[in-house]
Structures are given as structure tokens and as C-alpha cells.
């Protein structure tokens, strides 16, 4: 290539381009005029978080590899959707949300390490993350030591409260008591057979269920209570026991791969869920995808959200979710709770007028989110959410049909008196 052929500045096009570029600094001033109300960074960020004039960084910390990826994928998707929507609506205090995603890899020490990275290196203003109680327990000391803010989406066993965590899922009493009352009242259920996977959440939940059944339901009793190791795949023996005791209600808190085995074998053993009442608090639409709608049709689930909820918020949410992640994806209770995280954080930050963790934590109680797909929610003093509890019945297409919902919001009570 010879030098003569290089047009250089002599090219009229090139010259025009350069002239155009002279206007660029003016363009960079545009956002500032567009978001004239955005307060100065020095005012909203006094503790050195990753907040600039145009951006704020949050973390997403879930397992996208390992056993828990099955469950946590939905949460990641919901959080990304929420962040995208918030950005499209102008961001938080005039700043776009940028997220850094880390993989907890279904390994609890890894969760703690990544949490530390997100807080110490990346200075995230908030972290949406964790799924299992074990992972939350692993990151809790990190969040408390480095003063971070965690939005935790899963329904869980309660018995925890922290300045540094907002629990967007239900704690155990919210999820359990209303469901038991309902099944007792409408089905006249007197005998309950409690089942669970063998770890803290099912055991604590069943303990609360047992206390409630024996203490608060007239003439009701527990006729069996059993736990199975995580990953257990053979349920024929317990199914025979259920056949022998003929309980009015099978109360099942089985999780993960065991779930699929349990419902398939229940069906194969000829237990017809249209006649035998089964109430679960661990099977969301996500799980039904793996179990198969035809294997669980007729079962009742008690939680706060179903994809089929008929309200304008939810319709918009489901449409947006499917548009972003595909027509076939389903949305379960936890996915919806994960979607609340970024929104609640945005509302809290704007209420506090600051990204500072202490101010956000202090401003959290009383924050209301009217656009929640589940309907109105409000943050309680104890950093859990006031929310309605609902009972749905599984259909063969893998969706729940809403059967019952509490008239009022149920108060979160992570340390229930008389249930411990």
C-alpha cells in the first residue's frame, strides 16, 4: 500500500467526521441534563461503594453450576429482568444498575468467598443472592463484617434476622400456618403424615407444623413424621406406610431430585391425588417441570405466589419474563421473590436518598412495593415481607390453580413464640 493512496485529512469525508467529533463532548453532557434531579455522588455515597455519577454496581450471587443450579437459575433470570426494567425506567437515583455475577457453585465456602469478593473488591451497593439456607448462613458473617446488603429470595425456616439481609421470601410460619388452617377447615383434615428431606428447613418447618396441628387444630394429630437423605430416590416403603395409616393429609417438604422420584412413585403406587389430599410447601412450578404435571396433578401447594395469579402486575411480569427468557420457562414462588429484590432495593435507596448501607437498612422497614407480581408487599421491622399466603392446586399442564388466599397480609414472624 503506497502513501499516496492514503486520503488522510484531505478527504472531505474524514474532515466532516472530525468536525462531527468535535461535538462529542457536548453529547457526554447530555445525561447530566437529562437526569437533572440526580443528586451528587458525594452526597449519596459516603462510604466508598461502587457508585459513580452514572452507574451503581450490584452483585448477583447464585449457583449456576453444581446441584443447586437447577433451582437457582430462575432466581438469576428474575433478578436480571428486574435490573433491566429498572434501568429502562431510569435507574436508581438517576444511576444505571450494573451487575457483577458470581457463581457460588453449590458450595457454601465458595459462596462466602464470592460474597467477600463482591463486597470488598467490587464494593457492591447490594447483592441479590443465595438460595439454600446453608449458603445464606455461610455468607451472613461476611455481610455483617463488611457491612453489605443481601436480598435473599427463598422461603426458609425463619429463626434469623439481620440488619444486613432483606428476606423477600416467606419465613416458615407465614407459609405453614395458613395452609394448615385451610386444609383443616375446608377438608376437615384431622390426621397428618409429615414428610421431609433431612436438613434444617424441612425439619424446622415440620416442627412448626406439628406444634400447630397438635396445639391449635381441634382434634387433629400427626400420625407419622419421616425424613429422607437428600437425593433419596426410593420411596416405596414410606408409600406403603402411608397406605397403611391412611392419613387425611400428606404434608410433604421433599426437595431436589428426590421430589421427582417421590411424586412419580406415589402415582405409580396408585395413590390418586384427586382423592388423597397432599399439601406441599416445596414444589413450585419450577419443580413441576422436572416432576411432570401428570404426576402431581391434584396436589395442593401453599406459598405466596403462583404463575397463574390473575392480576395486572403479574400478567406484565409473566409476559416480560417469557419475552426475555423464552416462552417455555416457568416462574415459581422463589423466582418471583428474587424479582422483588432489585425493586425493593431501588425503592429503599430512593426513600433513604442514599446508597449507604446503614441508611438503606434503616429505611427498609415500611418500604412498599405496589408493583409486585404477587400483589402489594411491605417490608416489616424485622426485614421480612408482609405478604399473602395462597393455596394452589396443581394441574396437568404444570400450573397451579389458585384455590384460596388469605384475606390480609400475613405478618412475618421469624421467631415464633410457642413454635420452637
Amino acid at each position: 500500500m503506497s502513501d499516496e493512496k492514503k486520503p488522510g485529512l484531505r478527504s472531505p469525508f474524514r474532515r466532516k467526521l472530525l468536525m462531527g467529533m468535535a461535538a462529542l463532548p457536548a453529547i457526554s453532557m447530555l445525561p447530566r441534563t437529562a437526569f437533572a434531579e440526580a443528586p451528587a455522588t458525594s452526597a449519596v455515597n459516603t462510604t466508598g461503594l461502587a457508585v459513580t455519577d452514572s452507574e451503581v454496581t450490584v452483585g448477583i450471587l447464585h449457583s449456576v453450576t453444581g446441584t443447586m443450579a437447577i433451582s437457582e437459575t430462575g432466581s438469576v433470570e428474575a433478578e436480571k429482568l428486574a435490573i433491566e426494567q429498572i434501568n429502562a425506567a431510569g435507574g436508581v437515583l438517576g444511576r444505571k444498575i450494573k451487575f457483577i455475577q458470581e457463581d457460588g457453585a453449590s458450595d457454601w465456602p465458595t459462596f462466602a468467598e464470592k460474597a467477600k469478593k463482591l463486597l470488598v473488591n467490587d464494593k457492591c451497593a447490594a447483592v441479590m443472592g443465595c438460595w439454600t439456607s446453608a449458603s445464606r448462613k455461610a455468607v451472613l458473617p461476611v455481610f455483617e463484617q463488611y457491612n453489605g446488603m443481601l436480598y435473599y429470595p427463598t422461603f426458609y425456616e425463619g429463626l434469623e434476622q439481620s440488619k444486613n439481609v432483606i428476606y423477600t421470601g416467606q419465613e416458615a410460619t407465614q407459609q405453614i400456618i395458613a395452609g394448615l388452617d385451610w386444609v383443616n377447615k375446608t377438608k376437615g383434615a384431622k390426621t397428618f403424615y409429615l414428610l421431609g428431606s433431612d436438613y434444617i428447613w424441612p425439619r424446622t418447618s415440620n416442627k412448626i407444623a406439628r406444634k400447630h396441628i397438635e396445639g391449635h387444630l381441634q382434634g387433629a394429630k400427626v400420625v407419622g413424621e419421616e425424613y429422607f437423605p437428600l437425593g433419596h430416590t426410593q420411596f416405596n416403603s414410606v408409600i406403603n406406610k402411608i397406605k397403611l395409616t391412611k392419613p387425611d393429609v400428606i404434608y410433604a417438604i421433599i426437595v431436589g431430585g428426590s421430589n421427582v422420584a417421590f411424586y412419580k412413585q406415589l402415582k405409580a403406587a396408585g395413590i390418586d391425588l384427586s382423592k388423597q389430599t397432599l399439601l406441599t410447601i416445596s414444589v413450585t412450578e419450577d419443580e413441576i417441570d422436572g416432576i411432570g404435571g401428570e404426576n402431581i396433578a391434584g396436589a395442593y401447594a401453599c406459598m405466596k405466589y403462583f404463575q397463574s395469579l390473575d392480576n395486572p402486575n403479574n400478567k406484565a411480569f409473566v409476559t416480560a419474563f417469557k419475552k426475555m427468557w423464552g416462552e417455555k420457562t416457568v416462574i415459581g414462588d422463589v423466582t418471583q421473590a428474587a424479582y422483588l429484590g432489585p425493586w425493593l432495593w431501588k425503592l429503599t435507596v430512593e426513600k433513604a436518598g442514599s446508597f449507604d448501607i446503614d441508611k438503606v437498612a434503616a429505611a427498609s422497614p415500611g418500604v412498599e412495593f405496589k408493583g409486585a407480581p404477587e400483589g402489594y408487599v411491605r417490608v416489616h421491622e424485622n426485614h421480612h415481607l408482609w405478604s399473602k399466603t395462597r393455596v394452589g392446586r396443581a394441574k396437568t399442564d404444570g400450573q397451579y390453580e389458585l384455590i384460596y388466599e388469605t384475606a390480609d397480609l400475613v405478618e412475618p414472624d421469624p421467631f415464633p413464640k410457642g413454635y420452637q
Binding site: 413424621e225 429422607f228 437423605p229 430416590t233 426410593q234 414410606v238 406403603n240 421427582v260
Partner: protein
């Protein structure tokens, strides 16, 4: 605990419980057969056994989806085609793995443990990338679901009968292949003395490859069958691997009869105790008993008498 029940009720429950034990027995045998060939006959500690099973399960899922979409009229029979495809897919992958990885490690059997463990992680991530992290639901034809009413009170699950039949069939086939066929003799010759077997004209490389392929193929069939009773996800193979090794080691690694006997013992102990105790306790007691027995008989229940 039986005070309140009538005699016929109890009889029915015990019959069904016995049947539950037999189903568990079949499941264990089916899980362990492939490994018994690979670990027992070839001495390769295949930690990726569960992932070969899940490959079979995914093949079944794909077949079922394909049939639903393109050949809905033939859907009731798709399962047999799915099982054959699962055998071919897992077997082919097995032969590929043997060629690429295992054949370099025959002189270092302990290293196969590490290599196949790595392989299992790679396969898990591959499934996750290809099929997604969520579990998939395999739809079964109507006739394979539900239960059969034997008497008024006794019901047996149809998929249980199916698994039992399949197990008997595959066990007989494997027994015939390994014990009576010419190829089976070659396999045993290679296992006992590789150099000598080569010297008398056996193509040891070929024998190794096909044996490994056969073991993986059977794992694929087992995975396919387990879509009826368990879950299909990227890491579902991990649910089976411990029990599988337990059965094979307890039975005496090199003995097919041992595998069957140990599957029978473990399954009966497990399902009986599960009935009287809770699921977790039953597992604890079963494992404790196995540890105790293996301390007394490290070679397992049945050991080949070989002069060392």
C-alpha cells in the same frame, strides 16, 4: 404399631412391602451391572458411571419429545426405541472415553479414579450447557403409569414390574455374554493376564474398548429406565453413584453373582428397615452394617479365589 389394623390389611401391606423390596433390588442390580463389568472385570474405577446413566436419561427425554412432536401415534411404544438409543449413545461415548482416556491408565488403576471423576464433572457441565440447568420431565406413555390391582388390597406399580423384567433380561444377557460367549472368555483372559492374552492372539485393545462400551451402554439403559422413577437433570447421576459402588464393592468386585447377592441383601435390609424406622435411620443402619461386614470381609461377599 400394628394394633389397629386387620389381618388382611397387614397381609396386603407385607405383600406390597415385599414387592417394594424386589423393585429396589432390581434398581440396584440395574445400576450396578454396568459398573460391575467396568470396575469388576476391568478394574477401572469409573466415577463417571452416573453421568453415563444420565446420558441415557437425556436420550430418552429427547426421544420422547421427538415422538410427541413427529410420531404421536407411536408414542406408546417409544420407550423401547429410547432404551436402544440410550444403549448406543452411552456405549459410543464409553468407547470414545476408553480410547481417549482410559486406555492410557490401565497400568495405574487408582489414577482412573481421578480421571473419571474429572470426566464426570466435565459431562455434568456439558449437560448443563446443552440441556439447561433445570430438570427435564420425561413424559411416559399412559400404559406405563399407575398400578395394577392384584387383589382388592394389593396394588403393584407397573413401572416397578417393568424395571424388574428389564433387569432380569439384561442380567441374563450379561451373564451369557461374560460366562459363555467366546468374547466373554477373551474378556476374562485379558483381565487375568493382559500380556499373555495378547501373546495368544487376542486383540486386547479391542476387547477393552468393547467391554468398556458395554458397561457404559448398560448404564445408559439403566438411566433410561430410571426416568420412570427418578429425576433427569445435569447432576442427577450423583444420586446413584454411591449406592452403585456400594453394591459392587460389597458384592466382591470381580463377581457377577456377588453383585446380585449384594444388591439383594442391601435392598431388602434397606426397604425392611425403612418400613419400621425412618428413611434416614434406615440408611445409617444399612451403611453401618456394610462397613462392619466389609471390615471382616474386605474382599466382599463373593470373591474369586485367585492365587496371588
Amino acid at each position: 404399631m400394628f394394633g389397629d389394623y386387620s389381618l388382611s390389611d397387614l397381609g396386603a401391606i407385607f405383600a406390597m412391602q415385599g414387592f417394594a423390596g424386589l423393585i429396589l433390588f432390581s434398581v440396584y442390580v440395574l445400576m450396578a451391572l454396568g459398573l460391575a463389568i467396568i470396575f469388576g472385570q476391568m478394574g477401572v474405577i469409573n466415577m463417571a458411571h452416573g453421568e453415563f446413566m444420565i446420558l441415557g436419561a437425556y436420550v430418552t427425554w429427547m426421544t420422547s419429545s421427538a415422538f410427541q412432536q413427529y410420531l404421536p401415534s407411536l408414542f406408546p411404544g417409544y420407550f423401547f426405541i429410547a432404551m436402544s438409543l440410550a444403549f448406543i449413545a452411552s456405549g459410543a461415548l464409553g468407547m470414545l472415553v476408553e480410547w481417549a482416556l482410559i486406555r492410557h491408565l490401565y497400568k495405574r488403576p487408582l489414577d482412573t479414579l481421578l480421571a473419571t471423576w474429572g470426566l464426570s464433572l466435565i459431562l455434568q457441565q456439558a449437560y448443563r450447557s446443552v440441556f439447561g440447568a433445570r430438570e427435564v420431565g420425561v413424559e411416559l406413555p399412559e400404559w406405563m403409569m399407575g398400578s395394577k390391582q392384584v387383589t382388592d388390597t394389593i396394588e403393584v406399580p407397573i413401572n416397578g414390574i417393568f424395571v424388574m423384567g428389564l433387569t432380569v433380561l439384561i442380567t441374563l444377557a450379561v451373564a451369557y455374554i461374560l460366562v459363555f460367549s467366546r468374547w466373554g472368555k477373551q474378556v476374562r483372559a485379558v483381565v487375568q493376564n493382559r500380556v499373555m492374552a495378547g501373546a495368544v492372539g487376542i486383540n486386547t485393545e479391542k476387547v477393552d474398548r468393547y467391554t468398556f462400551g458395554l458397561g457404559c451402554g448398560i448404564a445408559g439403559v439403566a438411566g433410561s429406565a430410571f426416568t420412570m422413577i427418578g429425576s433427569t437433570g445435569p447432576t442427577a447421576g450423583q444420586l446413584y453413584i454411591v449406592d452403585t459402588f456400594l453394591v459392587v464393592v460389597f458384592g466382591g468386585a470381580a463377581s457377577l453373582v456377588g453383585t446380585i447377592a449384594s444388591a439383594f441383601t442391601i435392598s431388602q435390609a434397606q426397604s425392611t428397615m425403612e418400613f419400621f424406622l425412618s428413611g434416614s435411620m434406615a440408611k445409617v443402619l444399612t451403611l453401618l452394617a456394610i462397613v462392619a461386614i466389609l471390615m471382616m470381609r474386605p474382599q466382599g461377599l463373593f470373591a474369586l479365589k485367585v492365587r496371588k
